[in-house]
Amino acid sequence: MTGTLTLAKAINEGLRTAMEDDPKVLIMGEDVGKLGGVFRVTDGLQKDFGESRVIDTPLAESGIIGTAIGLALRGYRPVCEIQFDGFVFPAADQIITQLAKMPLRSLGTIKLPIVVRIPCGGGIGAVEHHSESPEAYFTHTSGLRVVACSNPVDGYHMIQQAIRCDDPVIFFEPKRRYWDKTEVDRSATPLGFDRAQIVRPGTDVTVLSYGPMVKTVVQAAVAAEEEGRSLEVIDLRSLNPLDTGLIFDSVRRTGRCVVAHEAPVFSGLGGELAARVTEACFYSLEAPVLRVGGFSTPYPPSRLEDDYLPDLDRVLDAVDRTFAF
């Protein structure tokens, strides 16, 4: 069954399928019911599954995660929506001290199959707290799986895989890509959700990215090709754990590596990737691993976000610099 879907609609259909498959799957969050979520990702689900399965919650993020944990202890599989990236922090305590650690605390007797969906990243002209990339806070927290989808195919399949997973999953959705469309084959066997994917093969330099930056990097690869440079673009998809096998294999072939993300470079996921690639691929590297990302500033007012967000040119600039060594 194939059709053209936006990312928002693909996740919506993935949620719908998961709810049809398993009556224990619940959706909870602010405005997810009647309104269908501020990005309409849960559109129509409350109408079809009822208020007890699609729960409009009080406006309290810690409450959303804390009660989801209680529901999971009772055998439910809650999918929580945090309305915007910058509003996950009131829930950070429940996510970090409880969600991530309770299974270990229980010596494995407790499973918390909870998905926390977070629309993330900038580029939509929003006010403060609506454009952030908080993934590194969560990849740094053991006990959580962290994934980021970048396109409708992954949106449809990965959300279902995340829901089926017995571990807590932080699920990042690139909000500026919600309206991008592609063909989605609903019956295709999906790639494992802890696997990375080569979205554009190349030979000269490996560019690692995820979420909203994948599209930008692919555009950079198209532009680079015109200049005679072949970029291999990898969509990480899973940020914890990392699919290091595929990453290392690519870098050993190309000899060069650039990491691109929206989040600030300092202490970002790019640092971890650079360290791991350097350690594993040291004798294959022709240049140090370079990182391109947000500045070490809070996310700027939206009139400046085009300067903050790495664009095609900044990715290509980093690529150029790897050839300067």
């Binding site: 009080p58 309290a60 209680g70 529901l71 439910y76 429940q94 299974p103 605390r105 010596l107 571990d167």
Partner: protein, 366 residues
């Protein structure tokens, strides 16, 4: 000056009491209970044995066998009364001090010691006992209890959840959020607040300008203050609150007015912040002595009974000590276990590397 939400500016808050500190049985128009002598003897036994468990754990800590212990001394009645009000199907969410409730739920006292000895973070299966793991972050478990109660609602089950927390926790955002959620979803949950007067060194005045039970009215559900040192009253009120919850009447806040007779934990020194006279006054309201007096006075128990319970307590403490000392340290590679339910590449890699590192020391002193 305190604000009294119930009306009169200086009206003392009502305290539900069924057994006075002198062991006199008193009636209450709303909350009453009919207990057979055998049931009272059972409660007495619970009270004495959990005090003994607590005493033994304090001693084990003093002797270096536990890293820490949070004593329940003085709060036995609040915990046994509420704990014995639960049915098997009800689910309890404790703090780290609910050793008496754990006892009521059939958790082996030795299993409480693991986290304080440092061999695990929680040593029992919550689903087996319907007693959740100890939660150390203050107030976090209140939301878990409400979520669990929302699950009970969805299952249509004849059950309720109860969550324990202290007076300090009532200042936490999570506790206030849990009140809101319980209220708007009419969740079958009982909030059992043991107001032991002290949050480490901070007295109740640092947490609230009104009696804690009155907080409930602002959230839209009933609150009641019960004599937390009266096991009869704690049992009666909790039983009623759980029944109401199971029958769809929503949440209730119980403030068990009690006193932390010991330190916050074995790392604390209460002589720095409270006067000795306070403890002496509360000793006169001891939760165990009043039950003993009641049993004696009514000739529901003789000296042989009390001697037998004391002997049982000695044996329990001895057995607990022995099994605590026998508790093995976990194997180093267990550090990687149970972090994830499903295979995780990074942990598998780190485990393998650390195993190889450990193996490199084989045959030599590390």
């Amino acid at each position: 000056m305190t604000f009294d939400a119930s009306g009169g500016a200086d009206a003392p808050p009502e305290l539900v009491q069924l057994l006075t500190p002198e062991g006199e049985r008193v009636e209450h128009p709303v909350y009453d209970i009919d207990l057979t002598p055998e049931e009272v003897r059972g409660l007495y036994r619970d009270l004495v044995l959990v005090r003994r468990v607590d005493m033994e754990a304090v001693a084990l800590q003093r002797q270096g066998e536990l890293g820490l212990w949070a004593s329940l001394l003085g709060q036995e009645a609040a915990q046994i009364g509420s704990g014995r009000a639960l049915t098997d199907a009800d689910m309890a969410f404790p703090t780290y001090r609910e050793h008496g409730v754990a006892w009521c739920r059939g958790v082996d006292p030795v299993n409480l010691l693991g986290l304080f000895r440092g061999v695990n973070h929680g040593g029992w299966d919550p689903a087996e006992h319907n007693f959740h793991l100890y939660t150390i972050v203050i107030g976090s478990q209140t939301l878990h209890a409400v979520g669990y109660a929302m699950g009970i609602q969805r299952d249509g089950a004849d059950a309720a959840s109860i969550v324990y927390f202290g007076d300090g926790a009532t200042s936490q955002g999570d506790v206030n959020e849990s009140f809101i959620w319980a209220s708007v979803f009419n969740a079958p949950v009982v909030f059992f607040c043991q107001n032991n007067q002290w949050a480490i060194s901070e007295p109740l005045e640092k947490q609230s300008r009104i009696p804690l039970y009155q907080r409930a009215s602002g959230f839209g559900f009933p609150g009641v203050r019960v004599d937390g040192n009266d096991v009869f009253a704690c049992l009666a009120v909790t039983r009623q609150a759980l029944k109401n919850a199971r029958e769809g009447q929503g949440p209730m806040l119980i403030e068990a007015f009690t006193y932390r007779m010991g330190a916050h934990t074995t790392s604390d020194d209460p002589t720095r912040y409270r006067v000795a006279g306070e403890l002496e006054a509360w000793k006169l309201k001891d939760p165990i002595e009043r039950v003993k007096a009641y049993l004696f006075k009514n000739q529901f128990a003789d000296q042989d009974f009390f001697d037998a319970i004391d002997a049982e307590a000695v044996d329990l403490g001895r057995d607990m000590r022995k099994r605590c000392l026998e508790m093995p340290d976990p194997h180093p590679l267990e550090i990687f276990e149970h972090v994830y339910a499903e295979p995780h590449a990074l942990l598998a890699e780190e485990r393998e590397q650390y195993a190889a590192y450990l193996a490199s020391f084989e045959g030599s002193e590390r």
